[in-house]
Amino acid sequence: MDMALLRRHLRCETTALVVGRKNTTIAWADETFHRQAFAQQPAWYALQAVAPEVQPGQRMRVLFQILESAQAGLSAETQQVVRRVARVLAVVMPADDVLTVFLALRRRRINRKPARRFMLDYLLNHPCLEDLALRRRPAWIDCLEHALGRDTARGALAILQRGKCNDPYVRRNLLRFAGDKDRAAKALISLCGSSRPAVMPRLPRYAVYHQRFEQVEQRSPRPKTVTATNRGDIAATLVHLYRGGPNEELSRAVDAYAEAACQLAPRFDGTVSLVLDVSGSTQGYGEREYCCVSQSVALHMVLKRCCATLHVHQVGGSGAPPRPEGSTDLASSVLDALADRPDVVMVISDGYENVRAGDLAGVVASLPTAGIAVPIVFCHSKFTEKDDLALRRPAPGLAELQFWHEDDFVDVLHEVFSMAGGDAGKRFVETSLKNVLDQREKEVMPWLTRN
């Protein structure tokens, strides 16, 4: 499984995971894709879901996949990673999504012990247990009955309904999964005994609880109206440099801004070959003049500070910072970059290839036959998030990333380094994703600890 493909899928595929009320069979189009990815590299697969910007529906699929799969054959270390990811996902995801995943497990009749334990842990220890159980009562009870066994669950609830909280059967079969047994018992009694209150706040408390984790993932706010100089400090200063010619103060400021941006960027101890497109078209025109080239050069400035070895192959342009000029021969430059034997080739371009459009695609299609497996990542330098890339994809088969604001650099670099081949790439992915998992665990402090 191509990890870049998986990452792209998790970020871009937006189809929701829906479990209908009446359908007895449930299916989703990318189920085989997820199953294969998990089967090949379970820990890596699971870790990808913790990364920022993964679509909610995809997180649901990953959680389902983890809970559905038999983990007996996995190494202890892999099992531990996978469980940690499942716990973090369950805490980060909205409770409604988690219940949908549980219902999907029920429909599929998945009753492996780890999955059932996980469900009970979630249902009985949720910080907003009372609110969740009350508002999603049918689903909550369905999930409880599936996890515990229908007869056991109904028997235990019936005993609880009679007020016997300390009944050994209830303690042994139900409350032993709850951290705070009294609280869980109280919530269950109230669930069995009453109907929904007449008036409830519009936004459930459990939803408010999970919102805090969505906020952690939110990107820093971007300008509503994009101009040449509000897309990050480095590009803004470069635009002024391009507009006004060489200026010592501006040049010093660019270096300082690049240094600051570099502090947030990931580090890569391998080799990157960069194809930097500074051809005439990157100059742009009108209010976008110099925007594309400025952001491309800005990313280059950060890149050179955070990777151990960087080879640069400039397409067109001259001077420092390079002024856009000349035609766009991406294919030849990519071949030059591959000759460096890097761990990854990064192409930063506006996407317009004109020394025969199609040459880059031809070269890329020929690489497997030529015995070259170095990953190539095409990074689109855009003016705004909404730029139309229809005519700007010179090699549709290449992995693609996009950036238009300086705040995108961290993600772009993270992705590029993750795609790197060889040991350097593997080291980076393993370290960085585990760092992300550690970080997320610290942020969300999972209350699911029993599995």
Partner: protein
């Protein structure tokens, strides 16, 4: 009436070829020639729209203090909000400080009232499919003379049948302006040959790199870009076919095969130029300005206007006629 041929014009203009650029249906072969060292002002920096004095009457001005004589690019047009947009049907000379009223201009926005206001503003060049008719209607004073042709072009592009060129130039602009990036203007470039598929459809020569830089975007986006857009939309598969992989077994072979395939493509384009039927033009001198002579060329497949300076060609805008454009061979 004198006669000349198409390809010798390039020799007269002392133009040499650059490396071909191709994107989709359109290919551009850059031309490099001598710079006239500031004798001519650029059309953007040296030409100002002075205003409209009644529909079909457009006044252009070469401001006093301008850097040189202005050659009005053939089929230049202007667009403004809430004004009847106009285009010129011919080229002309304007000395610094001179104003010239084009009484044979054509309105290109059928049902819009209001006059263009004086301004230094962006301009377009009429789409290739309209140019032959526009040229043939020079000296004809009828502001609505191009509306039927514009309406036909709109229909060809799947747009409402109206004499409104802004349906193409403005509403298709997000697509068309991408041609400015799909093709790069190169340093020192003074002209270009434009091809649709393998077929030559236009030859544009400017007196200096600066002049050509100012006319490049209107030419590549609105004149030849519209024709390319039409071809690409009519047969999308033909112009976005998946790339054929090379058979190379290693990096060096791949590099060699890439260079070789590019050389073959350039050779094929040059061969198609050489294989073109011999095109003889009838030359009609239209205007003179000291040693400068503006002529209209009429051939079987191409028409256009040229300017020569004491015998050396300094400006040319020669393009394929409608019949040639719609012949099966042109739609390669």
């Amino acid at each position: 009436m004198a006669h000349t041929e198409l390809m010798p014009l390039l020799q007269i203009a002392q133009q040499s070829f650059g490396a071909v650029q191709r994107s989709g249906a359109l290919a551009v072969l850059p031309l490099y020639g001598p710079d006239t060292n500031g004798k001519f002002a650029g059309p953007l920096s040296g030409l100002k729209l002075a205003g409209v004095k009644g529909y079909g009457n457009v006044e252009l001005e070469n401001p006093r203090g301008s850097s040189g004589i202005s050659i009005v690019p053939l089929h230049i047009g202007y667009i403004q909000d809430r004004a009847q947009n106009h285009a010129m049907c011919r080229s002309a000379f304007l000395a610094p400080g001179q104003k010239l009223l084009f009484q044979d201009a054509c309105c290109v926005q059928q049902s819009q009232g209001g006059y263009l206001q004086g301004a230094e503003q962006w301009f377009f060049i009429l789409p290739l499919a309209l140019r032959e008719e526009a040229l043939s209607l020079r000296r004809v004073q009828s502001y609505g003379k191009l509306w039927p042709a514009i309406a036909r072009l709109n229909v060809d592009l799947g747009l409402p049948e109206r004499g409104h060129l802004e349906q193409i130039v403005c509403r298709q602009r997000p697509y068309l302006t991408q041609y400015a990036s799909r093709f790069e203007l190169l340093k020192g470039q003074t002209g270009a040959l434009f091809f649709l598929g393998q077929r030559l459809v236009g030859m544009e020569i400017a007196p200096s790199p600066r002049y050509f830089a100012e006319v490049w975007m209107p030419l590549v986006c609105f004149c030849y870009g519209v024709a390319a857009m039409q071809l690409e939309r009519n047969s999308p598969a033909a112009h976005s076919a998946p790339a054929e992989p090379f058979a190379a077994r290693n990096l060096e072979d791949l590099r060699h095969e890439l260079a070789e395939s590019r050389r073959r493509a350039q050779d094929a384009l040059m061969e198609s130029l050489r294989a073109m039927p011999r095109e003889t033009f009838a030359l009609d001198e239209e205007e003179r300005f000291l040693d400068l002579s503006l002529k209209t060329l009429t051939g079987k497949s191409f028409v256009g206007q040229t300017v020569d300076d004491g015998g050396r060609l300094v400006y040319a805008s020669i393009f394929a006629r409608k019949d040639f454009l719609t012949s099966p061979m042109a739609a390669v």
